[in-house]
Amino acid sequence: MKFDVVIIGGGLAGMTAATELQSSGLRCAVVAEGLSLHNASRSGFKAAGGTLLQGDRVISGRIENGRLTGVFTEKLGDTVLEADNFILASGKYFSRGLVADMDKVYEPLFGLDVQYEPDRSKWFDRSFAADQPFLDFGVKTEGLLALKDGVPVANLYPVGEVLAGISSASGDATVQIRNSALAAVKAIRRN
């Protein structure tokens, strides 16, 4: 199944990007596990003609010659979602955009490069109210593109909380998340 853009994740970042892109005439599909998206943004996207795979989850992807060519989901079986561009808006730990185990933090879908503190004792601050470093961990980028083994994936744009440096705990998180989504939208529209 071929789309112009496949968006992985249906939260604020994913729906912002998806609705903008769909409204500008690109054919978009959002894979939104759970109900992380608001009714209003979901309706807006569907009204613009977008395809919503609600309750489904991306489980793996196909990276060939430095490009992501397709993703597989839990429910579609052997049907691949193909696209020219992909947006990764999978969020942080709760939505499993990032996974933390005892000694590392990793991005589970594509094995993207993640910026984190190797010393586990420095992941968190003992004072509950302090800024928690683990909330700043996230996927590394170069010119908006995700990095894998130090090389950019030419058509994969991480946006929102999955990114390093964006933390929902910061005061202007909503603005940062939206801006990261809009930056990716701009880049995709350009090419």
């Binding site: 199944m1 759970g34 109900l35 569907k46 395809t51 709760f94 939505s95």
Partner: protein, 413 residues
């Protein structure tokens, strides 16, 4: 000591976020119901300790599974509730519930006397009597029975020619297409034949059992499940995949058999295909080629049934329907129609059933489509009764939009 810290239903993963409660159609309309979180993972903690904590209000769950679609932690909430009903509800099913649930026992009788049955079930005094005596709500339009079942028609008119095709599939028609609406099954045969597939029946096909599960007839459902599984295996080993048309039957065969009836289907699952998924893939890969009728036009609204939401295969239906030139397809908001199989037929549920469906009915009235496209038979009853707008199965829409003759010629090459 407990060896694993995660149970089969995954209830330990519940974070109490309450998203399930925001999508539960019953909770929004029936204050008697505690909602999916309380009835599911919360209640489970108590029930594991002692069955006396089983709460009778679990009967209000209509098993639409919207809670499971919403859950960000993958908890099988509706399964927890169904399982608790199976394990702890000791009340024997009422006569009415057994009649509603025994679709493949009632079907042959009702079909044999179809003209009388259809006529009587339409009469106000009869409906009043059923309401008072067994609790079948008198405001409900009851489904019609066909005097010739699909199977009888198939054996008389279609079976003989099926071996002449190059490719073959087995068709799980379900009770509805057999007893109530054979036209759907006939449309299925016409479409599959046009695409070059011979259609074969499942040996001794039994009801999928969804209504029996919902009405507490677990032993009968398990017996049927085993018969179906044995027949499926036979068909698969003969190289014929199983094609289904009903989304609820499909969900039952794929999910409820192993989860609730403990009937293993691991080796069969990959060979059970919902017809829209099968046809979308066949057309998209170029395996079959459709020829559409010149000038065919329709403006339709798509309602995704709850169990299709749970299966997550609705995208195949919408993408398939969008392939038809001249099809303007409006996707309706994700809402439950309220009938939930046998649930809405019961007197005690009728009011809530109609309240649940209200947002959907209002949206259909606002969109004012020529017809509603929907895969589910009970949604069809509910939407047609409550809005007056016709509901068509995607298979019937294809049968109408395809030039069957030319498609057949192109695919027999």
């Amino acid at each position: 000591m407990q060896e694993k810290n995660i149970s089969a239903n995954n209830f330990e993963q519940c974070q109490k976020c309450s998203l399930c409660e925001t999508v539960c159609p019953v909770m929004a309309n029936n204050p008697e119901y505690g909602g999916p979180k309380r009835s599911g993972p919360d209640g489970e903690r108590y029930r594991l300790k002692n069955g006396i904590f089983y709460d009778d209000s679990l009967k209000y769950c209509l098993n639409c599974k919207r809670c499971e679609v919403a859950c960000p932690s993958g908890v099988r909430i509706a399964d927890l509730i169904q399982q608790a009903r199976i394990d702890f509800n000791r009340r024997p099913p009422k006569l009415r519930d057994m009649m509603l649930a025994s679709t493949d026992q009632m079907g042959p009788v009702a079909s044999a006397f179809a003209p009388i049955v259809n006529f009587s079930l339409g009469l106000a005094p009869v409906k009043g009597l059923l309401d008072v005596t067994i609790g079948l709500d008198h405001r409900r339009t009851l489904p019609k029975y066909s005097s010739e079942t699909f199977v009888r028609w198939f054996n008389k008119h279609a079976a003989a020619s099926q071996d002449s095709f190059r490719k073959h599939v087995s068709y799980y028609h379900g009770c509805y297409a057999n007893y109530n609406y054979p036209q759907l099954a006939k449309d299925f045969v016409a479409v599959m034949n046009a695409f070059g597939y011979g259609v074969h029946l499942i040996e001794r096909e039994r009801c999928c059992g969804v209504a029996k599960i919902a009405n507490g007839m677990i032993e009968a459902a398990t017996r049927d499940a085993k018969i179906n599984m044995a027949a499926f295996r036979k068909s698969i080993s003969a190289g014929r995949d199983i094609i289904t048309v009903s989304t609820t039957c499909t969900m039952t065969l794929l999910e409820e058999y192993p989860e609730l009836l403990k009937v293993d289907n691991g080796d069969v699952k990959a060979h059970i295909n919902l017809v829209e998924q099968f046809l979308y893939k066949a057309i998209a890969s170029g395996e079959v080629k459709p020829v559409w009728k010149e000038g065919w036009k329709a403006r339709a609204a798509y309602h995704c049934p709850c169990h299709q939401e749970r299966l997550g295969l609705g995208i195949f239906t919408t993408e398939l329907l969008k392939m038809i030139p001249g099809m303007e397809l409006i996707e309706l908001e994700s809402n439950c129609c309220g009938i939930a199989g046998t649930y809405g037929f019961k007197k005690e549920n009728f009011k809530v059933s109609q309240m649940i469906g209200r947002p959907l009915f209002d949206e259909i009235a606002a969109v004012a489509p020529e017809f509603v496209a929907c895969e589910c038979e009970t949604c069809k009853w509910q939407i047609e009764m409550s809005t007056g707008v016709a509901v068509k199965n995607p298979v019937s829409i294809l049968a109408d939009a395809l030039d069957l003759q030319k498609t057949s010629e192109l695919n027999s090459l």
